[in-house]
């Protein structure tokens, strides 16, 4: 075999048994193969095989859902990296945050990336919700995806709020004291919900641990689940809907 020929190495890899066991379709040289690339891939199959050209225009969606999704990915990566140094305990939490900021290499960068990413995620999700509302994309057949989106908004705010306590500084402590006192005003169950949320009557070590578990496990897992449904439903409901066009009242794919 002559590997000097241009493209021969790529051809050799494509022809190998290992490659063929992972990727079953051929190179994207036919329409059929281009379609197979999308629906034979776990990560791409939630996406439509073909989209209308106008849906790719910036002003169609302002990419706000995509921005939210990318911010979420950044937050997952930076958050996991922060977890390697952070202990969710009263004597260590604030110390670890300072260690990340002043001692650990690139710690300040990661912490700030996580912080600004979180702000971006909340802002982009909110603008995305407005965009969907003003484009009337909450209407049938997308009404269920709007509901999923509302759940995602709540999860986003929950993640933002539980992360707020973790630095264990004055801002965090009083922010969470005030927030959990608002919970108290919920009818009938307010006191009980607050007690379960804090693991006690005051913001204490129990509250720090509970917020940590919610922030790092419970809410992210729920978020992954609902984001998967949300993105998959976009395809099932006929792709992203851009600006409202009266001629599409028939419910045809836009």
């Amino acid at each position: 075999m002559n590997l000097q020929r241009p493209g021969a190495i790529a051809e050799y890899i494509r022809g190998s048994a290992v490659w063929k066991s992972i990727v079953r379709h051929g190179p994207p040289d036919t329409n059929r193969n281009r379609a197979l690339i999308v629906f034979e891939n776990l990560f791409l199959h939630v996406h439509p095989v073909k989209v209308r050209e106008r849906t790719l225009k910036f002003s169609h969606t302002y990419w706000l859902g995509g921005v939210t999704l990318v911010a979420t990915a950044v937050l997952f990566v930076s958050g996991i990296l922060l977890m390697f140094y952070y202990h969710p305990s009263v004597p260590l939490a604030y110390r670890d945050m300072k260690e990340l900021a002043f001692v650990v290499d690139n710690g300040l960068f990661l912490r700030n990336l996580h912080r600004w990413g979180a702000h971006l995620m909340v802002i982009a999700a909110f603008l995305h919700m407005l965009r969907v509302f003003y484009h009337r994309a909450y209407r049938p057949p997308r009404q269920f995806n709007w509901v999923v989106g509302v759940v995602l908004m709540s999860l986003t705010l929950g993640l933002s709020y539980t992360g707020y306590l973790l630095p264990w500084d004055q801002l965090a402590y009083w922010g969470v004291s005030v927030g959990t006192n608002m919970v108290r005003e919920a009818p009938f169950l307010g006191e009980k919900i607050r007690f379960l949320l804090l693991g006690g009557n005051v913001v204490s070590a129990n509250a720090l641990l509970r917020f940590y578990v919610l922030h790092c496990v419970v809410l992210p897992v729920a978020l992954i689940l609902f984001v998967s449904v949300h993105v998959w439903r976009i395809r099932k409901d006929g792709g992203v809907q851009g600006p409202y066009r009266p001629d599409e009242e028939t419910g045809e794919e836009s």
């Binding site: 959990t180 379960l196 693991g199 006690g200 009557n201 070590a205 129990n206």
Partner: protein, 166 residues
């Protein structure tokens, strides 16, 4: 003709019986799963409810009555309580703001209790003199222990005006 049995009808009846038995067992199965799920929800909620709390005790000693001459305001940080001496006697006020739970401070030069979070102000009897606090600061029970020291219980609220007289 009641004494003539139609075999087809009999087969149908058997089948119905079979189906209903299967339905019945199926329902028992679904019911058992639902009961187990409900039980696990109850168990989980119970598990999340802490049994022992390492929080400050609600009763604490606040010194002797002699420590609280007229105009004395002492803040007990751990229990978040003011113990105040006035002309008629001694009373204890919760220092937790009735708005959203921040800890208030006594501003001695202005003679008021103020909350740093949202600007609520109270007089020394706990009355709201400036919002957003919706309610006055609660008065807490004061008793004496065997040695004659003041014992304040932050978990017992008494009506406003019930001062302790030594």
């Amino acid at each position: 003709m009641p004494d003539v049995i139609d075999p087809a009808a009999l087969a149908d009846e058997n089948e119905n019986e079979e189906t209903s038995r299967r339905n019945f067992l199926g329902k028992i199965g679904v019911g058992a799963c639902a009961a187990a799920m409900a039980g696990s929800v109850v168990l989980t909620l119970d598990y999340l409810n802490p049994k022992v709390l390492f929080e400050p005790a609600s009763r604490f000693t606040a010194g002797s009555a002699g420590d609280y001459g007229e105009g004395t305001v002492r803040f007990h940080k751990e229990q978040k309580t003011f113990v105040i001496g006035g002309p008629a006697g001694i009373w204890a006020l919760s220092a937790v703001c009735t708005h959203l739970g921040c800890i208030t401070r006594h501003l001695s030069d202005e003679g008021v209790i103020a909350c740093p979070c949202h600007g609520s102000r109270f007089d020394l009897e706990g009355n709201v003199i400036h919002g957003p606090a919706p309610r006055p600061l609660p008065w807490l029970e004061i008793q004496t222990d065997a040695a004659g020291n003041l014992m304040v219980d932050t978990s017992v609220v008494v009506p406003k005006g019930k001062v302790f007289r030594a």
